[in-house]
């Protein structure tokens, strides 16, 4: 289990006074203190970890966020920012002495400008909510994490979220123009704007993906893009992981950049097929879903080229969608992959390492061996174009030993990702989950450099404590989370 820092006793002792002060700053029903109403905030997408917070505040404006932060800073109160609470790395896990600042009430769309192709939205607008707001005009917001129905743009910025289509459109960081950003001292800053390449240091780039360590984002200016004329998928199934990997290399080598290039291994194919009945070939060792964009004629031409390439690798099955409906059917299994695995196992951990794509066969072979060692099943989904691997480790949360083994298995996979030249996390963030593995990827002085930059924004380390950075050799005794 991952240790959380000991709560500050003086803060716990002053809970009533702190809640009264917060109520004065955020009038109405914006402060939550009753245990039953705090319960939904005790965890996020990493539900194995739970901790009730001191209180939850739900500000309805940037100014309220600023006053709450100013107060917490003055009083030395720790703060945990929260969007929709979908983090898979425990990025929004509370602490017993921390105030959770929930941003879901900042859910207004402030401006949409089609001529200049941007939208200004509150941090609490959902990812899909942006696309919904602009799709009637043929536009969309590109990054599409699989939690996009629920997750909020403020959280996307904090975690630099990706999705299945980043191979062509990039991740969150590549689709932002500006932020309204509140420092721990309660200063409201405009970072970037409505234009490209702000002058001076790239604060926008540094803040994006900083996991709530530097400040709180209340408003986001995103780029909106015109959708392609259409998109269509194909499915290609192969006899081995190596062969599927070689097919991916050949597709990229041909000069075609599909908008999505997804890889599933056999256990994943089986889980998804049982769940979605998408018509996936059950005898395949590996399967690719490849999506291209353009007019019907362009789609035909690209899919024909990709089909020809795949045909050189002795495929078990090649299926090109003939219509948008068939395309959806191909995607249905993949989009439901996490739910499908949830159906065959009471619990699973979703890992998120990235590897050089050439290492895929070796990494999947090693994961298979580890699966035997740990006695836990694993299914692998992989954004094959960009090397982002999602092993889903199946375990039983009611069995403490099973959870312990699952965590150890996950850590071994991530160490392997780093060993082959990759990294701990491609899109889910370090959070609390991978915090103690940071020493695997970074040397001590490199982490010290990152900490020093964090300190420049948050000198007292009040913002989202116990995430991202390993706890320092603790001056206070550490306490295990339940």
């Amino acid at each position: 289990m991952i240790a959380l820092p000991a709560p500050k006793p003086d803060i716990l002792a002053r809970r009533g006074e702190i809640i009264a002060a917060l109520r004065a700053l955020v009038p109405g029903d914006g402060v939550i203190e009753e245990a039953i109403r705090l319960k939904p905030y005790e965890t996020d997408g990493l539900s194995a970890y739970r901790q009730m917070p001191l209180a939850v505040v739900l500000p309805s404006s940037t100014e309220q966020v600023a006053t709450v932060l100013r107060y917490c800073h003055e009083q030395g109160i720790r703060v945990v920012p929260r969007g929709a609470g979908t983090s898979l790395s425990g990025g929004a896990l509370p602490l017993a002495d921390a105030v959770v600042i929930g941003l879901m009430r900042l859910n207004a769309i402030h401006e949409i400008n089609y001529a200049d192709r941007y939208a200004v939205v509150g941090a609490g607008v959902t990812n899909i909510g942006i696309t919904k707001a602009v799709e009637a005009e043929g536009f969309f917001y590109a990054p599409d994490p699989s939690s996009q129905l629920a997750c909020m743009i403020g959280g996307n910025v904090m975690m630099n979220s990706g999705g299945a289509h980043c191979l062509k459109y990039g991740v969150t960081a590549n689709n932002l123009l500006g932020l309204k950003f509140v420092t721990i001292e309660g200063e409201v800053l405009d970072i970037g704007g409505t234009y490209l390449d702000a002058a001076g240091y790239d604060w926008l780039g540094l803040i994006t993906g900083s996991e709530g360590q530097l400040g709180i984002v209340t408003e986001v200016t995103v780029r909106i893009l015109r959708s392609a004329e259409g998109a269509r998928a194909m499915l290609a199934a192969f006899n081995s992981i190596e062969i599927a990997g070689a097919a991916v290399d050949a597709i990229i080598g041909s000069g075609i950049i599909p908008v999505a290039l997804e890889f599933m291994d056999k256990p994943c194919i089986h889980a998804c097929e049982a769940f979605a009945h998408a018509g996936y070939p059950l005898d395949a060792e590996a399967m690719l879903i490849i999506e291209v964009e353009g007019s019907i004629a362009e789609q035909d031409a690209l899919l024909a080229s990709i089909k020809d390439i795949c045909a050189r690798f002795d495929p078990i099955s090649l299926k090109v969608a003939e219509s948008a409906e068939q395309s959806l059917a191909i995607w249905k299994g993949r989009k439901g992959a996490f739910g499908a695995v949830g159906r065959i196992s009471p619990d699973y951990l979703c890992m998120d390492g990235t590897i050089p794509t050439s290492e895929l066969p070796r990494v999947l072979r090693r994961i298979g061996e580890m699966s035997d060692q740990y006695g836990l099943k694993v299914a692998n989904v992989f954004h094959a174009g960009d090397g982002n691997l999602h092993p889903l480790i199946m375990f039983d949360a009611n069995d403490a030993d099973s959870f312990r083994r699952a965590e150890a298995f996950g850590a071994d996979i991530l160490k392997l990702c780093v060993e082959v030249g990759g990294c701990l996390t491609g899109e889910h963030g370090v959070g609390v989950e991978k915090r103690d593995l940071m020493n695997v990827q970074f040397q001590t002085h490199e982490l010290a450099q990152q900490r020093a930059i964090k300190s420049a924004f948050d000198p007292d380390w009040l913002l989202n404590p116990a995430k991202v950075f390993p706890l320092q050799a603790a001056p206070q005794p550490a306490m295990a989370a339940e």
């Binding site: 941007y118 043929g138 234009y195 240091y201 990229i252 000069g255 050089p356 450099q449």
Partner: protein, 388 residues
Amino acid sequence: MMIAPPDEAGIIAAVQAARAAREPLAIEGQGSKRGLLRPVQAARSLSTRALSGITLYRPAELIISAQAGTPLAEIEAALAEKGQQLIAESPYFNAVFGTSAPPSIGGVVAANLSGPRRITWGATRDHVMGLRFINGAGEAIRSGGRVLKNVTGLDLCKLLSGSYGTLGVITEVTLKVLPKPETSATLLIETPDLTGAIAALSAGLGSPFGVSGAAALPTQGHVVAALRLEDFAASVAYRMDKLATLLGSFGAQRVIEDAESREFWRGVREVAPLAAMPEDAIWRVSVRPSAGPQIAAVASAIGGRVMLDWGGGLVWIAASPNMANHAAISSAAQAQGGAAMLFRAPEALRLAVPVLPEEAAPIAKIGARVKEALDPGGLFNPGHMRAA
């Protein structure tokens, strides 16, 4: 005096020596952008020019790594051999700065300079997947890595990109690359004025046809709006037809292809129409595209000439190098919610005015702490971005 160590250990030794002696260093690569920003006040310069060579290139993984001093042209040539290219179309500003020094890849990243493709495919900083740099304590720091998707820890790649050597000495960079498109074609539309040209560019960029370059060039009596398509030949042919139909009402059209199209965009990338008059200063203004014409109007009022890229959102202005012109352009940019940078000017003007816009006090305060965290002795490029 210039120090140009042959390896990273030499860079570290030079930084440590400067730290011990408390002597600042001017940090540079090949020196091709020495005319950019404020002149650095340092007796010694530390160059990465001798750190040269591609260290890793995996075409199938769309990744290339090179030591910081590697000439941009060497990287482009290696990529071209495998049918690939740098995504952000990094400019050579040799004509702008009147130098024959070849730009280095480290310098391109340190200045985060991007060409026309930036409007659709992102800036240089968007494609920096990994960096090694030496901080002011003389430590080698890595950020990012050699994979395309990485959110592990704070993104120092972005912080260092565009920091002009003031936060660390970049020794190696890893960039995402993409296949070079089979062909390129450009639709040229003769529009009556800048507002019409920007409207045409906006309509093109808001179309589903994947416009990868959108520039407006005022010429005698009208403005040429240029929209580029890059893809497989069949796609370019199809999309050009659709795009031309869509934009039919904006003015007379002409299409240029292949070499002619590439040459046209090289000119846009390197600001060729403005660079030729060495006595003029050059400003680079970034605004939302529809504000481009207002910026251009202010430029005209001071007797300046303009060209616009990035759909109208990047306004290049050439005008007499004086403080009044700088003030007029800076306040116009600010009024439109954008930012102006004095890009080329005689040293005296660069020392006399803020070459970059001032930051708001709270962010400047954090910025000073971040600088202190990376370069505690204030060794690197003092006074380069802002007066001390």
